[in-house]
Amino acid sequence: MPAPARLPLGFAGLLAAVSIGIFAGSGLYTFSYAEGLSYLSDDPRACVNCHIMREQFDGWQKASHHARATCNDCHVPHDLIGKYTAKAVHGWRHSKGFTLNDFHEPIQILPEDLDIVRQNCMRCHGELVSHLADDDCIRCHSAVGHGPPR
């Protein structure tokens, strides 16, 4: 007689498998419900998913850089690792802030992120302005990205 068919897992194993399945399923669903994939893209509309940056987005549509640069052109580095590291760091900080509602208003850029923006100014305009000692471009050109303050 053949040996009785045995479950490949014991009861505990089955429970673990189902739990992991539920976790993975609900996690994936929440990720998709929260439009998680959009954050991996370069589409500026992803940045207003949470509505906090609505003013920056609206302002950008009226600003001089609108035709040439989107959010990611200025706000993340342009090497593969740098880009997704920055996206991960920003993503964690923003989603934590929006979920817990514990951020400073109006929102303000952090010094390290301001550095990224400056480097991106130089990425396009470097040839023209490399002789300038000070690369704090947006101190004066504050309206080029998000338009004039309202």
Binding site: A12, L15, A16, V18, S19, I20, I22, F23, S26, G27, Y29, T30, Y33, A34, C50, H51, I52, R54, F98, T99, N101, H104, E105, P106, Q108, S142, P149, R150
Partner: protein, 466 residues
């Protein structure tokens, strides 16, 4: 087993996150749920609050009593704070009681209690700016034979006719009778159309004043709809509710009351003296042409003026107005709850919350922003002190000259100069920003005040020598 428990807990976390994301999405989809009907007769803000709880909650907080360096909402007696005021206002109700005004919530009770009203007889005209009075005005208008019915849209020809007729009637009757027709301080209906919630202006005095301003030739670059009306056919009068942009209305609703005004003629019709423009000397010219004075000064015999609270006029001279910044941008800054954004209806000084009011445009630390504002206000206060001292010196000199028997004819030039000096000093003192709304204009006005007062003293010296 342990794996199962951990993944179950993780799933709980994921579902909580799902709930949070879902809440935020719901907030973004709709923020208004109309729970109670409102129309042109709904005076009680509580009824509006059922559908607009965030705005209503913030509105209720105007009971808060907070202080800034030069302002605030404690009802301190200014006459004790600055004894010069007793001399400046000698012979007038403001020398009896001149308390700091408190928040919007107190506007009606403060007016009923002030000794300027309880010890002196005042007309119903005072009520235009201290109560939610649209329904009271319209009822009075309808009783007087105005067309239409109470539920007509206020801005319809019928509604406006009712409003104007009732306004004229209630201005003329005694305050004690007029105040019985109202129950609430300023409320939702006074600034919002109940059908669309759009911002609107409703005060008959303002509507007449801004029409007159539009007809003048004074440049008003900060009110572009007036400039464009002037360039048009002028087939009808300028009407802010038809012509002004939403951004202009976000200042005009405040300018309905935070202005210079007077009670014109026997009928005590509340009037904004804007037909020459909004600057202090243009307003003064209106009063001179009308032969108007608020009272005859007890010490000097000069026919003098009391400035009210010309915030709209001073804001009009400043850089913020010129840059398109409305009153509401700083005094009712946007507030966020979750994914919802709305105007904070807790109207108050931006100095109490510079992050939401100022940092939107000025990306500097709060302490730096406050220091910049304080620098403007401290400088204005020094000039104001000098102007008040100069005015009081002139009043003293006039009194001595009068007592020593100098004729009215000889006193007249110096009395005229007192009127000019005093009105200018008061224009800045009574204005609620200590110069901030228009720093250079404030300095100009105070410099003129000092100049006129000292010129008056010189004029008297020459009289006495004769």
């Amino acid at each position: 087993m342990a794996v199962a428990i951990v993944s179950a807990l993780c799933t709980v976390g994921v579902m909580a996150l799902f709930q949070n994301v879902s809440d935020r999405k719901a907030e973004a989809r709709h923020d208004v749920l109309r729970l109670a009907p409102i129309d042109e007769t709904t005076v009680d803000p509580k009824e509006w609050g059922k559908s607009f709880p965030r705005q209503y909650d913030a509105y209720l907080r105007t009971v808060d009593v907070e202080r800034t360096r030069y302002g605030g909402s404690e009802n301190i007696q200014k006459l004790d704070d600055d004894p010069l005021l007793r001399t400046i206002f000698a012979g007038y109700a403001f020398s009896i009681d001149y308390r700091e005004e408190r928040g919007h919530a107190y506007m009606l009770s403060d007016q009923r209690e002030t000794e300027r009203v309880t010890k002196k007889t005042q007309p119903g005209a005072c009520l235009q700016c201290h109560a939610s009075n649209l329904v009271a005005y319209r009822k009075a208008g309808l009783e007087g034979g105005a067309p239409g019915k109470l539920t007509d849209t206020l801005t319809s020809p019928e509604g406006l006719a009712q409003l104007q007729q009732g306004f004229e009637k209630l201005c003329a009757i005694p305050y004690d009778d007029a105040t019985k027709t109202v129950d609430h301080p300023i409320a939702c209906l006074d600034c919002h159309d109940p059908a669309t919630l759009a911002v609107r202006v409703t005060r008959p005095g303002f509507l007449a004043g801004i029409r007159a301003l539009a007809k003048s030739s004074e440049p008003v670059p900060h009110l572009p709809s007036i400039e464009s009306w002037r360039k048009g056919s002028r087939a009808r009068d300028y009407d802010p509710n038809q012509d002004a942009s939403r951004q202009e209305l976000r200042s005009m609703v405040c300018g309905q009351c935070h202005v210079e005004y007077y009670f014109k003629g026997e009928k005590k019709l509340l009037t904004y003296p804007w037909d020459n423009g909004l600057k202090v000397e243009q307003i003064e010219k209106h009063y001179d042409d009308e032969g108007f004075s608020d009272w005859t000064h007890a010490d000097s015999g000069a026919k003098v003026l009391k400035a009210q609270h010309p915030e709209f006029e001073m804001w009009s001279q400043g850089i913020h107005a010129r840059s398109g910044v409305a009153c509401a941008d700083c005094h009712m800054p946007y507030k966020r709850e979750g994914a919802l954004k709305f105007s904070d209806h807790h109207v108050r000084s931006p100095l109490l919350e510079p992050a939401r009011s100022c940092q939107i445009c000025h990306p500097y630390p709060e302490q730096e922003i406050l220091a910049r504002a304080a620098a403007i206000q401290d400088r204005t206060k020094k000039l104001l002190d000098a102007a008040e001292h100069a005015t009081v010196d002139l009043i003293g000199a006039l009194k001595r000259a009068k007592d020593s028997g100098v004729s009215d004819t000889d006193l007249e030039p110096a009395r005229k100069l007192q009127r000019q000096a005093q009105f200018r000093a008061d224009f800045i003192a009574a204005e609620n920003s200590m110069g901030f709304h228009a720093p250079q204009e404030s300095a100009r006005i105070l410099a003129e005040a000092i100049d006129f007062a000292r010129q008056g003293q010189i004029a008297l010296l020459q009289t006495t020598k004769k």
